[in-house]
């Protein structure tokens, strides 16, 4: 034991010693450790666990045979998702209308009172037509769908359905050269992309983990769902009969989600053949047992953790956005407001993408939290004298189509743009933290924004080419 007295003992000495000892133990030593571990576990478990029922009649396994079957797995998954969207759309429509009516009625009354009290017009305008209106739009557009969507989503999560989704999609990710667990982190991204990015820690290989991080944003997060649902309801489905409308709306949201999954796979495929070359690695995925969802837990998680969390964040971002829009809309130069100058300047580019200048202006204002692009866009339309009335969601459609030349193409491209554009500021910051690299954070923005521009440009060009818009 002379080493113990050696003051100059270095880590290298220990490594050298280990290296010298290793061959003496024989080649089988490593396997022996693992084998004895597993053997021991098996022995102990066999002594401690007794079965009283026949295993073949295991209820979970019977369900799994259907839910994860090669034939029925994907159709069932799509049906479940469509059902969730449909319930959300049907349920959220009327509360949204009522909230909008009530909140804008309050704006009217309050600003009237302020004027009657002789408070200067610009204070009234800034507070009520600026900040308050921003909040009102966000609450009426986002709150009702969230309050229905989140509990449904949480029930599926609690039941144990998400790993089955990953199981069903695994073969696609493998083909794309990505890790099968990416299906799981993608599913997590439906909740929140920043959380999805953190969840990629379950992927061992740095290459595959990076792919999962860079593509997580292609599935719409909880913050973007209300926007998509609102666009689908008010614009895409509106030209159908009232009976069919809700199904068309649910179908279009589902289509957007599938397009998101498609781009996830496509970009993963391209990345694994260019920037991040390599083979997909194997993994095991445990399918947890189905568990009866705990109602109290679901209410808490979906309403407090998710609804209030997302809404509060949107409100924090919408208030300053409303203020900025009011200021831009009320500073006049040569008879036109600044907002109109900027929107006109951006308009040619917007039209090229099948959008318009106002939408791009709203996008720029909402960059810190781009899940509020649509509420911001509505604020720009109404807050700059471009739309004098304060309509409910139904009147909104008439006005946007009548006064601002919206077409089906505008609505579809806005949905695509909202699906594909760059991650929100929180997610970008999370990507930076997880990769410890400004380069990859930048790459994530370039890929998403580039694709958003490219795809909307192509759709718009195609629509125009066939004379459809």
């Amino acid at each position: 034991m002379s080493v113990l007295t050696n003051e100059n003992l270095t880590p290298q000495d220990i490594l050298a010693k280990a290296q010298k000892l290793r061959p003496q133990l024989g080649d089988a030593f490593r396997d022996e450790i693992v084998t004895s571990l597993y053997g021991e576990a098996e022995r102990i478990a066999q002594r401690a666990v007794h079965t009283t029922k026949d295993k073949r009649w295991d209820f979970d396994q019977r369900i799994d045979r259907i839910v994860t079957s090669p034939v029925w797995g994907l159709p069932i998954m799509l049906l479940l998702l469509a059902a969730v969207f449909w319930i959300t759309i049907v349920g959220a429509n009327i509360p949204s209308q009522m909230l909008a009516t009530a909140l804008f009625w309050l704006e009217d009354k309050a600003s009237g009172l302020f004027t009657a009290w002789g408070i200067p017009w610009w204070i009234t305008g800034f507070l009520w037509h600026g900040i308050y209106r921003g909040l009102a739009w966000v609450v009426s557009v986002m709150l009702p769908p969230m309050a229905i969507f989140f509990p449904l989503f949480t029930i599926l999560e609690d039941l144990g359905y998400l790993p089955r989704v990953a199981f069903n999609l695994d073969f696609l990710f493998k083909k794309a050269g990505a890790h099968g667990k990416q299906a799981l982190t993608m599913a997590m991204g439906f909740g929140c992309n920043a959380a999805g990015v953190v969840a990629t820690r379950v992927i061992d290989s740095p290459r595959e983990r990076l792919i999962a991080i860079l593509t997580n944003n292609f599935v719409p997060c909880n913050g973007r769902f209300p926007t998509l649902i609102m666009l689908a309801t008010v614009f895409v489905a509106a030209s159908f009969s009232p009976v069919a409308a809700s199904f068309v709306a649910a179908g279009s949201v589902l289509a957007v989600v599938l397009i998101g999954v498609f781009f996830t796979l496509l970009v993963s495929w391209v990345l694994s053949r260019t920037l991040l070359k390599g083979e997909a690695s194997a993994f095991t995925l445990e399918l947890p047992p189905y568990r009866r969802p705990n109602i109290g837990r679901i209410v808490y998680t979906s309403l407090i953790d998710r609804t209030i969390f997302v809404l509060w964040r949107a409100v924090l971002m919408a208030a300053p956005a409303g203020a900025v829009i009011w200021v831009l809309g009320n500073i006049y130069v040569n008879g036109n407001s600044l907002a109109i100058y900027i929107a006109n300047f951006l308009n040619p580019f917007g039209v090229l993408l099948g959008l318009d200048g106002v939408i791009l202006l709203a996008y720029i204002i909402a960059i810190p939290a781009n899940e509020i692009v649509v509420p911001t866009m509505l604020m720009v339309y109404t807050g700059t004298g471009m739309m004098i009335d304060l309509p409910g969601l139904d009147g909104l459609r008439t006005l946007l189509i009548g006064q601002h030349g919206w077409t089906l193409l505008t609505a579809i491209n806005l949905m695509l743009f909202s699906l594909l554009h760059n991650p929100c500021a929180t997610t970008i910051a999370t990507i930076y933290k997880e990769t410890k690299s400004a380069k990859w954070a930048t790459v994530s923005v370039i890929i998403t924004l580039g694709l958003a521009f490219l795809v909307t440009f192509l759709t718009a060009s195609f629509a125009r080419l066939i004379g459809w818009a």
Binding site: M1, I33, P289
Partner: protein, 271 residues
């Protein structure tokens, strides 16, 4: 096992959930276990916090911390990411492994799934290689009963050399017993004799020689034996940590940084 049964009678004991109030604590308890065995549910039951739980493996990738008080002793509870083993190198497994190794928890509770005990025991055995103070919580007993499985915890305890407590974290069944067992394992009323892989004489001698060198290099390092085995196995991650001084740093810093970061990580873990 206890000298005075009244002291540990569940009816006599008091649990107070302390949430995030963990600036001052007397003991650290770590929750380890395979993915999706209900660690976060147990964590929430004990601390009164609302760490997000979900029925899928790999949900907790960072560690969350909270506090509870039992019999007037304050415990800091650390919810580790679920792992199948401590041998591989993905980040979530490393979080768990590093904490058990260097966080110097007073006790590690390995939460296991009663319906898949064999697979879960692999991790139990690995944790027992690292530390003596181990308790096995056999969770999801309700599910096991539904599936017609009977778990003989006395046989389990005897074979493992560590207490095995049947619980159902969801409804609190067995939790009082678990808490009093944690207390007694920490204060030494219950002696654990964890089962360890013994191997050949040659193996034992090699491990002893190597762990002696490790202790000489880094005094106060816990788990020198386990590190020696890992080095003999050629674990690249442990070799790297030894060479770049990470091991020494972890031993120096862990307690300190735990105090500083505890409330922050608990909040971050909330998502």
């Amino acid at each position: 096992m206890s000298s005075n049964p009244c002291e540990t009678c569940p009816a006599n004991a008091q649990l107070a959930q302390m949430g995030l109030k963990i600036e001052k604590f007397d003991r650290i308890v770590a929750l380890a276990g395979n993915p999706n065995t209900g660690k976060s549910t147990l964590f929430n039951t004990l601390t009164g916090l609302n760490q997000h739980t979900g029925n899928w493996p790999g949900k907790t990738v960072t560690r969350a911390e909270g506090g509870y008080e039992f019999n007037k002793i304050r415990y800091k509870l650390v919810d580790l990411p679920g792992t199948y083993s401590l041998l591989s190198a993905s980040q979530d497994e490393e979080v768990a492994r590093n904490f058990i190794l260097f966080g110097q928890p007073d006790c590690v509770v390995v939460v296991t799934d009663a319906t898949a005990l064999e697979r879960n025991l692999n991790l139990v055995l690995q944790v027992m290689e690292i530390t003596d103070k181990v308790i096995v919580a056999v969770n999801l007993m309700d599910e096991a009963r539904r599936k017609g499985l009977e778990v003989d915890v006395r046989s389990l305890s005897r074979d493992l050399g560590a207490p095995a407590i049947p619980i159902t974290a969801r409804n609190g069944e067995g939790v009082q017993t678990l808490l009093s067992t944690i207390e007694e394992v920490i204060n030494g009323n219950i002696q654990t004799k964890p089962l360890r892989v013994s191997g050949t004489d040659q193996f034992r001698r090699s491990v002893e020689e190597l762990s002696g060198m490790i202790t000489a290099l880094i005094p106060n390092i816990p788990n020198a034996r386990w590190l020696a085995i890992r080095l003999l196995d050629g674990d690249a991650r442990v070799e790297e940590a030894l060479v770049n001084g990470e091991l020494a740093d972890l031993v120096m810093n862990q307690r300190q940084s735990d105090l500083r970061l505890s409330s922050k990580t608990a909040l971050a873990g909330n998502q």
